[in-house]
Assembly symmetry: C2
Homo-oligomer: 646 residues x 2
Amino acid sequence: MQKNKSYLNCLQREQAQELWWHKLKECGFFKNPSVETVAVETSLGRVTAYSVYAKRSVPHYNGSAMDGIALCASDTFGAQETEPKRLKLLNAQQPFSSDCCYVVDTGDLMPAGTNAVVMVEDVYFIDGEAEIIAAAAPWQHVRIIGEDIVANELVLSEHRVIAPIDIAALLAAGIENIDVLCKPKAAIIPTGDEIVATCKELKPGVILDVNSHMLSAAVMEWGGEPVRTNIVKDDIHEIQRAIFASLQVNDMVIVNAGTSAGREDYTASVLAELGEVLVHGVAIKPGKPVVLAICQGKPVIGLPGYPVSAMLTAELFVRDILLARQKLAPLQADQIEAILVKQVASTLGVEEYVRVSVGNVQGKMVAAPLSRGAGLISSLAKAQGIIGVGQTHLGIAPGTTVPVTLLRKSHPTNTILAVGSHEFALELLGIFLRRHIENVDLSCANVGSMGGIMAIGNNEAHIAGVHLLDDVTGQYNITHLKKFLLNKEVKLVHFAMRQQGLMVLPSNPKDIKGLEDLARADITYINRQRGSGTRMLLDYELKKIKIHSSQICGYEKEVGTHMAVGASILAGAADTGLGVQAAAKALGLDFIPVSQEQYDLILNFDIADERMNIIIEILQSPEFRHEVEALGGYDLRDAGKLIEYR
Amino acid sequence: MQKNKSYLNCLQREQAQELWWHKLKECGFFKNPSVETVAVETSLGRVTAYSVYAKRSVPHYNGSAMDGIALCASDTFGAQETEPKRLKLLNAQQPFSSDCCYVVDTGDLMPAGTNAVVMVEDVYFIDGEAEIIAAAAPWQHVRIIGEDIVANELVLSEHRVIAPIDIAALLAAGIENIDVLCKPKAAIIPTGDEIVATCKELKPGVILDVNSHMLSAAVMEWGGEPVRTNIVKDDIHEIQRAIFASLQVNDMVIVNAGTSAGREDYTASVLAELGEVLVHGVAIKPGKPVVLAICQGKPVIGLPGYPVSAMLTAELFVRDILLARQKLAPLQADQIEAILVKQVASTLGVEEYVRVSVGNVQGKMVAAPLSRGAGLISSLAKAQGIIGVGQTHLGIAPGTTVPVTLLRKSHPTNTILAVGSHEFALELLGIFLRRHIENVDLSCANVGSMGGIMAIGNNEAHIAGVHLLDDVTGQYNITHLKKFLLNKEVKLVHFAMRQQGLMVLPSNPKDIKGLEDLARADITYINRQRGSGTRMLLDYELKKIKIHSSQICGYEKEVGTHMAVGASILAGAADTGLGVQAAAKALGLDFIPVSQEQYDLILNFDIADERMNIIIEILQSPEFRHEVEALGGYDLRDAGKLIEYR
């Protein structure tokens, strides 16, 4: 039997983090970070290395704080409305003598002999003299030297992030250059025989290096200086050489990947030779294959290869140590509470991170789980938040209120949740919406028409796209709405008539003419998921022509969208699949029409919600109709019409 | 009578902002911002100009999602623990035939003929064959083409800030360059005859240009590209030329200053000629002299000259329009609720912004107002938050709960509020504290010893520095503590013995020998504020030698710190003043000892608060003693000793 390598240890997330921080403190990673001197003007966002003291006082002279006249306060005693006092106006060259004054502007040096300013608004200039009707207090409206900052006083304490106002304070205090902490240098080493650097090298079985760019951006976002190396092959000596070289000139090293327990995963063994491996494997999902090591007194982190895993584990094990090295506090992501709308399963003993969409539906904040695969970059890019399922849980039941950690600076209360049948013109609706309402997001979850109706019923979505044919009445959607949503205040709005049909490779090499051909032994089909309108349409049409699902090769392989059906055909994984004409057009596939169907939207908003009216307006607009029809296979002549269903 | 120019109008803040946004929308400032193409790797933080669609599918081939064996699922039907199934291992060159399989790693292309993967953990390799004990479902552990992203699918919608994960998604989808919104270019024009660019040119009456650097940093922080021009003299034609030239190549122009109604304030009149002045004067304090104009369809903002005013008005009238131009949401600063500890006066009809320190004292969050002058850069740099006093208020009473807008990413719950007698070694204590506790801030408000005792009594401060002599017992601090804080659980800890004396210019030109000389007609004194220990000490000592305050010239001019006393002497505004030796030493002044006094700290923490013990430890440490004594005039041999006073 082949001996498979295994993980060194597999710690819980908290244990791993605790050990990691403990050892990094022990080896002095957070102590005495290097320092560089920069011009104050360019120091925005940098961290002061030491406390900074003023080199001069601000202001550096006694000056007028107002536009007005400078005088000696004792000359004005007794002045009042009934007994005004007149002072002779001197020019700047004339020396002061009593009962005289000078015109001064804000910031002007107080002429010798004067010790108070009267505001111009309170002065009457008559016959070359200044008349005042109230006594001036000594030093009134005078900014005395050092009033703001006194020489040698503390201006900024050590380890402080320099803000725009600090730049003003430093420059005013005579400081032109400042010692700041260097940005920690983090090497990022992409490894793997299957990894290539450019699209040109891409072929089946080969993967583009996107992680090293993503991790570089993350390191930059966290205040570090990323240093990306070339891709290193899965060769134990090459990996060792690369890590060793990077350790000499960087403050930390990130290796990506080779961290798993597979045949060619060398990261852990290399690090064990170069230093001490503290952790290999963490009980989290995604992200289990993490290696945490200290080599030559510096942290070396092996991150898993899937982009989502790499990103999540970088946030857990790289981000805050990078910040702490810069004397910055750990990042506190915004959290909100939301009601989970769908069950989330998880494994006992493993902490799972689930990407979610978040939105406020009828006054309650809801979180809808997105796809969970570690390979799904798009699901993390589209997510608005993440929920963690603790290792002591077997999952979370729907209806549970959970804390959601928000990604980005999103505005979950502005998000419109669209749940239901996949319709990629819905994304166009999202783009049009953003042009009407600032900072609105349209988040689409493709769960099929029935899933959409259920989500609306539970107030878990704002919009559901549905195309459900009642084979008795021949009508779309009304029957199901009456059955499932009769007691709910929702609106049914027509979206489009759309053409469904079979997608095939260009020139239709297998000469497929219609659904009858699906029973052919040489045809592999790719199906849509249960509950989707397209699946129902297929089953309905198959019934008519008396083909049973068991006769169709590939009937059991499901994908979630029209585009995924098309992509499977393009890839040769299937010969054909049912979908909308627009998907075939977008992918350059041939299309055999099967039937036209009605696709409507259920809108679940408060009556007062302006977003509902904006959506209807957009649907009715010629611009929107034009853009959607250009996708192919759509007819929007009645888009935006309300459908009476009660 | 001289005719003074006045403000064009003086709007309320909301009116001014509403008009400003309305007119900017009208002139299309937020529409069609310019676009540039950048490499995706360098696009972190940029805003997408358009929606971005995938150029290829991800994954772009059907690949194994696991390390294991690739096989045809139908070959495994019936396999179970009691009836294992053996498959022949093929190498990559051999074509597939039934009952065979290939070893694959994660990401490997699925060999032709296979449609499922069994994980390596579930395979036994025996005699060149693979044994499995369970059937595989078709397509299990296979990542099919387009599973993540399908070609032509939306990857990022328009006007989205690009995050690290988006860079991964874009690159994976075959996008190498991306159109992003250009950073809005904002010209910053410093104006004023009295403004100089470098410290070297600095002399009395002349002010260093710090604002243009501060505003550049602010523009950068808000995503813009600042373009600083040279300083322009107060000449109407030069200002006009500069603004006109900047308008040609920038998206907006910021003029600083010349916005007031003084003799040489030309900004408003120049802008009225170049375009339309919408607002001149806003009822806010600081910051009244703001000019908002639209010239050649672009916003031109005249900001007031005082740095604090310039910064606050830039936040009100520049920040969010700059963000909106980039399709970003207005900045939502963090707000907390805190109890105001001191009355804040304000003018009816004017919205006032008051800088505050914020800290959690004995479980309640308190906000302590700082100095309010528009010229006090340091007070804004030191503030942790700002409270606004609405225009319909005459002020806010102490004890009122107010919303505090937090500046920076501060941690108000970690702030230690020190209120009481000014002692600049306290700042050293703050620096030492930060070395022991991460992200702790020590905020010092100098309100005199009695003010400190009152603040402790009201739970408005953690620490009060006091030096209050009881002229009957000859003891420091104990009498006052017993009188005012007997029922409070506080600790009195000795800080230092310190030397008080008269500061005079080097070589003591007026030959001052002691307090007796203060009555001399040729001596001007600079005093400390009422309630300060130093003021009390002066009054006590004057009483002993029978000098009345009216005999002392300058007795009525008060400043708030020892350093400010020294600075006034250095500036020639006074001949002498009472203060600690350390201040004289720091400023290079001569020092005539008057008396040694005892300076103690009252500590107001929960028993369980670790910060109290850390403070006592620091006070007792040789490092701290050494650093403080090096300031001059301190004796810390008993520092950190608890003083029993009950």
